[in-house]
Symmetry: C2
């Protein structure tokens, strides 16, 4: 199984959400590529560019200490060469409230492992 396999991509995506749910900054650090090219958009936030800014945002979010639980639906994944992406709806259970975020997670194979290079999440308006 090469690093660029679809099962490995899905495992990397799972690792991202496990780190997110676990408020685990060290695991989140292992999920991402570290470079100026990475970009992260949290729902409603301006883009954070470069690993330092992205890492700081996770530190701030995890510092809130509010655990989130995700139920992922509508997952769609694709691998083209050394790039893979997953589009998914994050259904967040945050105490009694639920909300849904559409997310595009873009990975590149770096030294044999999928690393997240872009996460773009946006809230879905409820009607």
């Amino acid at each position: 199984m090469t690093a660029a396999s679809l099962p490995d991509l899905l495992a990397a995506n799972d690792a991202f959400y496990a780190a997110f749910e676990g408020n685990d900054a060290e695991a989140m650090e292992r999920v991402w590529a570290h470079g100026d090219h990475v970009v992260c958009v949290h729902p409603g936030w301006p883009p954070l560019r470069g690993w330092d800014a992205v890492a700081a945002s996770w530190g701030a979010l995890f510092g809130n200490g509010q655990p989130l639980q995700f139920i992922l639906t509508g997952m769609q994944a694709r691998v083209t060469g050394e790039v893979g992406w997953v589009h998914v709806e994050e259904n967040l259970l945050n105490g009694p409230r639920t909300s849904t975020v559409a997310a595009l997670n873009l990975f590149e194979a770096v030294d044999g492992s999928w690393r997240l290079v872009a996460h773009h999440g946006s809230g879905i308006a409820t009607t």
Copy 2:
């Protein structure tokens, strides 16, 4: 210059915004790959999956007849093999109002041309 070049990627991204500003459904059709794998998230919308759903959304948006003008800032682009992506802030001038959308545009080289396979836009909250 191969299809997978960065200049061609930026030209394809420009073509996307030209079609958008021009309310030009035919030009938008040429910008996108046509398949079940494409996905489009307009700000606040749920994900639209597959070309038919994506095309219908552009038809509906263009049917409004309200021209938009974009000023693109913070552009960041990257090519890895046959995949390229552009992250950009769309500053929309819509009459007297302005708003900013963060967008991730993901392209694949298809038959020698960059085609859009994912567009994910999200409004940036103003404070």
